[in-house]
Symmetry: C2
Subunit: 205 residues, 2 copies
């Protein structure tokens, strides 16, 4: 059975749990702490040399890392990735936007808030920039979602899964989503999709 | 004709110039400064609301941003993207690795060195972390390239283009590539591919 190296705090790992569940693909999870160095131990570096969850291992031993690469792999040929070439490229655009302009701020602010408080001075000094750039990403999404049901082509896709993962828990990082009515309505639509699971839902072993 | 919103310093823009040139796709470029706020002006935000080059505009007005999304769009169905599903997923993995674990350190260190020197205290304070994490990314690539000709499946692909863009000018950011013999040999192989152009080569208008 497919193995997912997973972490219950990680929105990146949640993306994969969510897609696999909605696709009905069986998997078991191996939990890896992201705070105690488990993902930097030799056994895990043999799976992902970059030392990050999520990563998946197939029955034949092949390995794949990077949450959005895993989403693309499993979404191919399904309704979660558009058949139209340009719409597919728009999904790619959102996936790279997520990893470059959204996650490093929205997710990292949340992660710092999950650490024992109060933060050290270095972490605390980062928060204003994280909040400013995270809000820029959320505002961009909110503008785009005006009059749209989903991020690409008005159909639910892995672009929505990738952006939902950390947007819907942005408040845990100190982001107030009240100004973003389009984004909040979209969060509701994503959460109402068939087979949706919450981030804390524990799937598999 | 396809329009590329471009910048001669940007490795992300260079990726697109390189692939389009190697594919023989005609394009013209519009240069946008990344230091004087041009990419944050309304005319450019109408093309890419995220205010970053590269972005392309097709003849019919459709727009696409994010360098690696543009690479994927044009590489589809060509020899620059593997036909095998799992090999393609490995290309995706490298593309996301590049944007999350490589570019934010290797490219940003170089960008800071391109700014008027000496850097302000805030920029200077970032350099040790940029160098440490950038070296981690370069070391990971060097390890992976041991015994390999290219990053995925021993064939030149957009994974190589994406990682070459900032790796081959990493020295401009203060990275000494001397310890990375596999990586240096790979840089030479990429530079020897048919149709290769240097980063400073000016294509189009």
């Amino acid at each position: 059975m497919l193995i997912l190296y997973d972490n219950m705090i990680s929105g990146n790992a949640y993306k994969v749990r969510l897609l696999l569940t909605q696709l009905g693909i069986a998997f078991r999870t191996v939990q890896k702490s992201v705070t105690n160095g488990e993902t930097r131990q030799p056994d895990f570096l043999a799976i992902n040399p970059n030392g990050r969850v999520p990563a998946v291992v197939f029955d034949d031993g092949r390995k794949l890392a990077e949450s959005n690469a895993i989403l693309l792999y499993f979404a191919e040929g399904t309704g979660f990735l558009p058949g139209d070439k340009f719409a597919r490229a728009q999904v790619y655009q959102w996936l790279f936007f997520e990893q470059y302009s959204h996650e490093p701020y929205v997710a990292v602010a949340r992660f710092l808030r999950h650490l024992p408080q109060p933060l050290n001075a270095q972490a605390e000094a980062r928060m204003p920039e994280l909040l400013q750039k995270g809000h820029a990403a959320l505002k961009l999404m909110d503008n785009h979602l005006a009059g749209r049901q989903f991020l690409v082509g008005d159909a639910y896709s892995i672009a929505d899964i990738a952006l939902y993962a950390y947007s819907h828990v942005a408040d845990e990082g100190g982001f107030d989503l009240a100004p973003y009515a389009n984004l909040r309505a979209w969060l509701g639509r994503v959460a109402a999709m068939p087979g949706h699971i919450p981030i804390s839902h524990k799937c598999g072993g």
